[in-house]
């Protein structure tokens, strides 16, 4: 018998998976199944059943352990399978089972994928998954409009702020995304919001949890929670849906008087309250890609569309697969840090779906979706035909 928490995880998986009726409906919506060779273990009930038998056969070590690891870590955790299973089958918590499997393999020292180990080490050492130095976290401020940076309150030590803009690692370090935090800062200043940015902001810890390193996530969550309490923060506005999802769903003891909002929620609120009015309307045809961690994981489908309708009116067009049916960009669940063979790249399929409705701009609201789609535009040779924009950029451009 192994340690208690490992046995508990095993029991939880066996119980949850044995309720699955193997009706295979989840394969109809799984982006992994659609974009890879189409093996059965590249689809939801195949992955969860592989974990089930991995436990039943006690095959979590050695070669079998590595095969199971490769199966479990290919999933983008987008949640499309859960949407389908809830609607037409047994409502099995498939993503939760897969992530429990990852935690199990990490505790058995089989997970994560070799390439993802340096991500966890960097999270621990530098407070971001990219191996960038922690002290360069706010370097992006140097490359945006100086008038905007002047108004930013850099929160440090015992400085307080009611509203915190949580920038996130990708927006802080990814050079060709600098326009996203830049736009948000411009909008905040335009509205005269009193807000701050943490000088030594550290990753929210989401990648650690998605990769199954629950212990590291707990430590990171604890540290961040102390920082938020110390700065007496009442509202956290995040740029990435992953940070928002992590704070609101995974942080164990974040004080409940702190409101957690993705920036689209905050701006939509401000727009309907009249504090934020787009001046120039967007002429180009724009469509919207629902980030999985905004839509499927947190049911935020309409707010971003409200903003886009305010800005673009009826030149905002809907793709065939939207809201709960939106196709995943392939970046979630740790997939940004490891290369999974794609026969048809998800990001390219999504770009094609946008072109099919005549869109000239694909708007989204997640840095990972942004980079994946930007990549998809390049590799599918559609540069010049279509652009990817973050909703924040569109709002800023409309002021």
């Amino acid at each position: 018998m192994e340690e208690q928490h490992i046995e508990e995880m095993k029991k939880k998986v066996i119980e949850a998976v044995s309720k699955c009726r193997i009706c295979m409906s989840c394969y109809a919506d799984c982006p992994l199944y659609e974009s890879t060779r189409g093996f059965v273990t590249q689809g939801p009930s195949g992955i969860t059943r592989a974990l089930y038998y991995g436990i039943r056969w006690d095959a979590l070590d050695g070669k079998d352990g590595q095969d199971l690891r490769d199966i479990l870590y290919a999933c983008t955790t987008c949640g499309s399978c859960e949407v389908r299973c809830k609607k037409s089958a047994c409502n099995i918590p498939l993503v939760e089972i897969i992530e429990t499997g990852r935690k199990l393999l990490v505790e058995k020292m089989v997970g994560p994928m070799p390439k993802q180990i340096k991500v966890l080490e960097s999270l621990d050492r530098n407070g971001n998954p990219y191996g960038e130095p922690a002290e360069e976290r706010t370097q992006w401020l140097g490359s945006i409009d100086p008038q905007d940076t002047a108004k930013i309150k850099l929160v440090q030590g015992d400085l307080k702020t009611e509203t915190l803009l949580f920038v996130g690692c990708t927006s802080s370090y990814e050079r060709d995304l600098v326009n996203v935090p830049g736009s948000i800062v411009k909008i905040f200043n335009h509205m005269g919001v009193d807000y701050g940015i943490l000088k030594d902001e550290k990753c929210c810890g989401d990648p650690a949890l998605r990769l199954g390193e629950a212990g590291l996530f707990e430590e990171m969550a604890e540290k961040n929670t102390k920082v938020f309490e110390q700065a007496e923060i009442k509202r956290i506005v995040t740029i990435s849906p992953h940070c928002m999802s992590s704070f609101s769903q995974d942080y164990p003891d974040l004080p409940n008087n702190i409101t957690i909002q993705h920036y689209t929620e905050f701006f939509a609120e401000q727009m309907s309250a009249g504090n934020l009015k787009p001046q120039k309307s967007l002429k180009k045809k724009v469509t919207y890609h629902d980030p999985c961690y905004l839509g499927k994981h947190n049911d935020i489908y309409e707010t971003p569309r409200q903003i886009l309708t305010w800005i673009a009116g009826d030149s905002f067009v809907e793709m065939e697969h939207n809201r709960e049916q939106a196709l995943c960009c392939g970046g979630g669940g740790g997939r940004m840090f490891v290369e999974i063979e794609e026969i048809e790249r998800l990001s390219e399929k999504r770009v094609q779906q946008a072109l099919d409705v005549g869109a000239e701009i694909i708007a989204t609201a997640c840095p990972w979706c942004y980079s994946q789609i930007a990549d998809g535009i390049k590799t599918s040779g559609n540069e010049g035909k279509i652009l990817v924009k973050d909703i924040a950029e569109l709002i800023a451009e409309s002021l």
Partner: protein, 263 residues
């Protein structure tokens, strides 16, 4: 089967290297430490033997208080016993002193296989394994990239990585010592929970160098660093390509190479 693996903590290489005031050595205060990369592969190879043939693993290191962290890492990773030969000024010890301490320690126990990393990231001497094997009068093989076969209590067959793509295969009778090359395996990830459990419940066997009956305190070093200096960068023939932006520099270097008909 008893396997001993020697571990050393080396400073993390990224960032600025600063010399001490007397320019006698490198300033190690404030540097972050981690387990020497080669030793991580040696540790993983030992743990592989544990899972595959149930070998009993002892991790041993010569170091000060900071090295406890490495010992807890080994315990978390799954070694059966973690031994720390406590010496606060271990950074001043040279390879032969460390080898002598390890020899005194190892001769007090029974072992079948002793694993070390080929060399350490900071000093890069690659001596400890060879000196130790010679003093213990056991066969040794350096730069091992594969354990081909193992007949416990009898012999081990290894493949060694040589220059220019050559390699050779040697059989060594046990007990034997191997120095392990990077890339032999894929070191595991040790989770925070395991580390936390190791720190709370794990126990490190501490030995003072004096108990190792080396007579008068620490063994005399065979070599000591008298002076450290930062090499002036660039060979005499180096010319930095100028240019404001990266694109300018790119264009200039291409022009130079075409100018010299190298392209």
């Amino acid at each position: 089967m008893e396997v001993i693996v020697a571990i050393r903590q080396t400073p993390l290489l990224d960032g600025e290297i600063v010399l001490t005031a007397d320019e006698k050595s490198v300033e190690i205060e404030g540097l972050k430490y981690h387990i020497n990369e080669w030793d991580l592969y040696a540790l993983e190879e030992a743990l592989r033997l544990k899972t595959e043939i149930g070998a009993r693993i002892t991790a041993v290191s010569v170091g000060g208080k900071a090295t406890e962290e490495a010992m807890y890492y080994c315990i978390a990773a799954g070694v059966d016993e973690a031994v720390l030969i406590e010496e606060e000024s271990s950074y001043q010890l040279d390879s032969s002193s460390i080898a002598t301490l390890l020899e005194k320690f190892t001769s007090m126990r029974v072992f079948d296989l002793f694993l070390t990393g080929v060399q350490s990231e900071d000093t890069g001497c690659g001596e400890v394994g060879a000196i130790l094997a010679t003093k213990l009068c056991v066969p040794q093989a350096a730069v091992v990239m594969k354990i081909k076969s193992l007949n416990p209590e009898e012999s081990i067959v290894v493949q060694r990585e040589l220059e220019d793509g050559f390699s050779d295969v040697q059989r060594l009778s046990l007990p034997a010592l191997l120095t392990i090359q990077t890339g032999i395996n894929q070191p595991r990830y040790v989770s925070t929970m395991h580390l936390r459990k190791a720190r709370n419940k794990g126990s490190i066997m501490r030995i003072s160098p004096l108990d190792l009956s080396t007579g008068t305190g620490l063994p005399a070093p065979k070599k000591t660093m008298k002076r450290a200096f930062l090499p002036e960068v660039g060979s005499v023939k180096l010319e930095f390509i100028d240019g404001v932006t990266a694109a300018d520099k790119a264009k200039n270097i291409v022009d130079r190479l075409y100018g010299m008909e190298v392209l």
